[in-house]
């Protein structure tokens, strides 16, 4: 099985701080690393705009350190590898974003992220911080059935919320509006992911899950959490067909709808493969009468060097299209008009 046990690191205990230091040294024009290990914008957002804050386990780069910047997030609170930051650190992140016209804490739905965010918000309340709201984001249709969407976990499709909410907050929208927008994008987004090979946990060096040489798994979470289907390797076209069907049914996406498409590389898939996959996605959407507004192919949120991809669709209207096309300038996510 193709697990890369070699990693170019120093002491495994220092991965996160060394990564943050090297990252901040590379992009001083965009971000700043604070003494308490937060990634914040080099040029803070004016105080009359809502600040966007997100915490997450590390190991998913470019997410989320690379998504801090104009048109995107204001503060990222990087946790340990695959572990959400604790409440104390989240609270520090919220304070670093203040004073803006309120803080919206975005939470990718995983047990750890949610529990720590809840604890942090209680501490914020105890300290009398005002105008702090939380929005829980999820998209993965394999993790809970239709009708129980709030139980679903957050995966690559959060891309759409990050991008559109980031643009929306720059317009000066207020906290309630920002939260509503995030929910709107979330509720129109669906994702299904698959893996060809696992990755090694950077600290333990062990494979995060097992897959046979001719096996794939569909419905993986972003830490190798089990999916809904484990089976034989298929062609690119068959893989797409197998994944797109359940996605279309779930929302459901219908003829006449307009969508943004994301094919997210979970690590070591190639853009060559993503392009071949996208060919089939575009063909099938065309056959279903669904129009593509924009597609992005790339590694936007990874699970180390795991090879696989997530297929996400977001149904868009005029408002969302505008926000999607707006410029953004994170270190690792840039959009040009």
């Amino acid at each position: 099985m193709a697990v890369r046990t070699k990693k170019l690191i120093n002491n495994p205990q220092n991965i996160v701080p060394e990564m943050l230091e090297g990252f901040a040294a590379a992009y001083p024009n965009i971000v700043r690393l604070t003494d308490d290990g937060l990634i914040v914008r080099r040029t803070p957002k004016p105080a009359n705009k809502v600040a966007l804050v997100i915490g997450n386990g590390s190991g998913h780069e470019p997410a989320m350190i690379g998504w801090v910047g104009p048109g995107l997030f204001d503060v990222n609170i990087p946790g340990d590898i695959f572990a959400a930051p604790g409440p104390g650190r989240i609270l520090a992140g919220i304070k670093a974003a203040h004073p803006a016209a309120g803080v919206l804490l975005c939470v990718s739905h995983h047990a750890g992220d949610l529990m720590n965010a809840e604890a942090a918000l209680e501490e914020a309340e105890d300290e009398g911080l005002e105008n702090v709201e939380m929005v829980v984001l999820y998209d993965d249709i394999s993790s809970a059935p239709k009708g129980r969407e709030p139980e679903r976990r957050g995966t690559a499709g959060l891309f759409f919320t990050w991008k559109m909410l980031g643009a929306f907050a720059e317009t000066g929208a207020d906290l309630a509006a920002c939260k509503a927008l995030a929910e709107k994008v979330r509720d129109n987004t669906r994702t299904l992911s698959m893996a060809l090979t696992p990755c090694a946990h950077p600290i333990t060096g062990e494979p995060m899950f097992e897959l046979g040489d001719d096996e794939i798994e569909i419905g993986m979470g972003v830490h190798g959490e089990a999916g809904m289907y484990k089976g034989k390797m298929m062609s690119a076209d068959e893989t797409v067909a197998r994944m797109l069907g359940p996605i279309l049914e779930d929302l459901p996406f219908r003829a006449g709808d307009e969508v943004c498409v994301l094919l997210n590389n979970s690590g070591s898939l190639t853009l060559m493969e993503l392009s071949i996959l996208h060919r089939r996605v575009a063909q099938l959407l065309g056959e279903s009468g669904i129009k593509i507004h924009r597609s992005w192919l790339g590694a936007y949120a990874t699970t180390q060097e795991m090879s696989g991809f997530g297929l996400s669709l977001c149904r868009v209207d005029a408002q969302l299209k505008n926000l999607y096309d707006a410029p953004a300038n994170g270190a690792w996510f840039k959009s040009v008009g």
Binding site: Q13, F82, A83, M115, N116, T204, G221, H223
Partner: protein, 219 residues
Amino acid sequence: MSEASMSDTIDVQQSAQIIAAMAQAVTARQDELSALDSTVGDGDHGHNIAKALRQAAQQVAALDDPTPEAVWRTAGKAVQNSVGGASGLLFGAFFTGAGRSLKETDRPAALDVAEMLAAGLAAVQKRGKAQPGDKTMVDALAPAAEAAQAAAGEGLSAAETVRRAADAAQIGAESTREMTARHGRAKFLGERARGYQDAGATSVAVMLAAWADLAKGAG
């Protein structure tokens, strides 16, 4: 080790020693705990809990003029913020909850132990929403708290109370092998999680055993 301490109350010095002993015990079994987490989770639990408890032991040692309550709450904060994640938050909640129960300090130590475990369990369940049977640390903690309550009620010593709790935790941890998970990363495995012992429950057993060994030595 101070002989007096274990016999009457959970005092400062002893609290710090308990946390240090727990840190040492999970560090010694770190790889085994990670391995347990690797089939049903992401394989890092041993690393997480060992790092968290070492951090806790350090921060506790650095306190000046602490109370027992402060020692355990400091440990809780340290655990929560050193590694984070679900387990950081929940094990942190356990320590913080246990610490809070030490506000009232005029009880015999055995009752303290029972109260600490009950309060710690309540804090874990408040955050994590797990019930016994869900294949989590609660499956070790709940029987441990129950056993401690019973032992203290029977008038056993603090050392004996902790030993009973540790033994119950061990049995509870082993019982998770037959469960399917309803929380944490393992929940997505469904039936496939059966046959594997829960990592967090095992940590609880290791930590309580370390406490029991220490108490026995002292008492």
